[in-house]
């Protein structure tokens, strides 16, 4: 039941427990209980909204920063990752295999704000060896959903056998 619920809400966080219960064929209370448990266990960590900020008048700049760090003895990368992800400006942090260690997404109001964050907060951290900042020019797809398309019209014929 858990996986069924998760697959169903993955792309649509607004679906209600009642609808879920109908669509999956379970009892509403059982579905509610399962969701609550998954929230407590941090399997479901939140219900954010996917917004295409480019279409609004809010200024937003996102940067993808490749960070090389020196892992700390006994703590590996987790400690340094934590020091980075606790900053509010940080949108996401991933540990990456390959050329660098951490991929850090930063959101700011302007390029200057992001640049300031990198130079004054991120780079000076003791374990950070180097950073490489890449500004995101356009978001095409996030969380499996395309941001660019207008919702396409149903072009099927109205009645078919």
């Amino acid at each position: 039941m858990r996986n069924e619920i998760l697959r169903a809400i993955d792309k649509n966080g607004r679906i209600t427990p009642d609808e879920l219960a109908i669509m999956l064929g379970y009892d509403v209370d059982a579905v509610k209980k399962e969701i609550q448990e998954m929230e407590e266990e941090h399997i479901i960590c939140g219900y954010p909204t996917l917004i295409n900020w480019d279409k609004t008048d809010c200024e937003r700049v996102t940067a993808w920063i490749e960070v090389k760090v020196a892992p700390q003895r006994g703590l590996g990368f987790d400690k340094i990752a934590e020091r980075i992800y606790k900053f509010e400006e940080v949108e996401s942090v991933y540990l990456i295999s390959g050329e660098f260690d951490l991929a850090v997404m930063i959101e700011g109001k302007s390029m200057r704000e992001v640049a300031n964050f990198v130079s004054s907060k991120l780079s000076p951290l003791e374990s950070v060896l180097s950073t490489s900042t890449n500004f995101i020019l356009k978001k095409y797809k996030e969380h499996g959903l395309t941001l660019t398309d207008e919702s396409p019209e149903d072009e099927r014929m109205l009645i078919t056998p």
Binding site: I22, M23, D154, M157, L158, I159, T160, P161
Partner: protein, 388 residues
Amino acid sequence: MRDPLAKKVVTIEPSGIRKFFDLVSDRKDAISLGVGEPDFDTPWHIREEGIYSLEKGRTFYTSNAGLKELKSEIAKYMERRFSLQYDDKEEIMVTVGGSEAIDLAFRAMLDPGDEVLLPMPSYVSYLPCITLADGVPVVVELKEKNAFKLTKEDILEKITDRTKILVLPFPNNPTGSIMTKEDLKEIVDVVLEKDLFVISDEIYAELTYQGQHVSIASFPEMKERTVVINGFSKSYAMTGWRLGFACAPSNILKQMLKIHQFAIMCAPTTSQYAAVEALRNGDDDVNHMQEAYDHRRKFLVHELRRIGFEVFEPFGAFYVFPSIKAFGMTSDEFAMKLLEQEKVAVVPGTAFGACGEGFLRISYAYSIDSLKIALERIERFVKGIKNT
């Protein structure tokens, strides 16, 4: 001037669905729950393979029976999903949709006057195809009390010395009913005893919601007397690619192939290359779409019952077939009024045979959001009837 037309063709009734289509097509503001095709686009990796085949200049004919790679993938697919073993060289052919395979099977197997048992309500093409092949359609009425399944008694009632073929249209369009292994067992007994052949249209096989689909060809001694028809339209959301296939014993397939060779030459090459990709890497797509349909199915059945329809729970395809007998209207009247008053298009059950009277076909090849909007309108319509 002499009459240029053949009586056989002229006397065939135009399909009931066509009449309704003509009415609906002017109504640009109508929302439709009337389609018989997936709302999903063909998965991108399959489309991309079609594009690549065009880029590579693969714009030639394929052999009549279809691309070798595709037939070999179909053989593996039939084994993997339905435990059926077919020889890809002699027992499989690729057709222009499942529809062509239906036509070919009747034409290859019927002599004038041979009778075909045709369960109805069912897809609109069987009856005219039988007539065009000089066969005699004998309608077997599927009953709501049997969950629209075919029973032994239904067929025994209609069998004569001329009966040659039984059409098995399950999972069924328009009712959504399926035949389980147990349901099929008693049909198999009759088929073997009466020495019949079966044309089993399994185009919706991947869209079942109560266990895996079972093909009648998987019963002992049945493979040599069954033509299994399947295709890519429903399972892989590939209706417009026009690609289906038939699996049959080589003696039947050879004759079907002969007609196909002269009438069609081969199925579209681009579609065939795309289909190879579908069968190699598309199982997950099928499962995802099946799951989405299942959610909508449960939602739609639940909501229709809440609104006041009597609904038998369908376990296949993507249709619900609610009864409207409680509302004191014919299917045509109900569908027409619903269209006029609330601008929702559904298909009257009668489009699939006279025995579809008293029912509607409602498709759930639509997003939950679209279904919700349509259901609101249907609910308002039903309340309106109750209040008058």
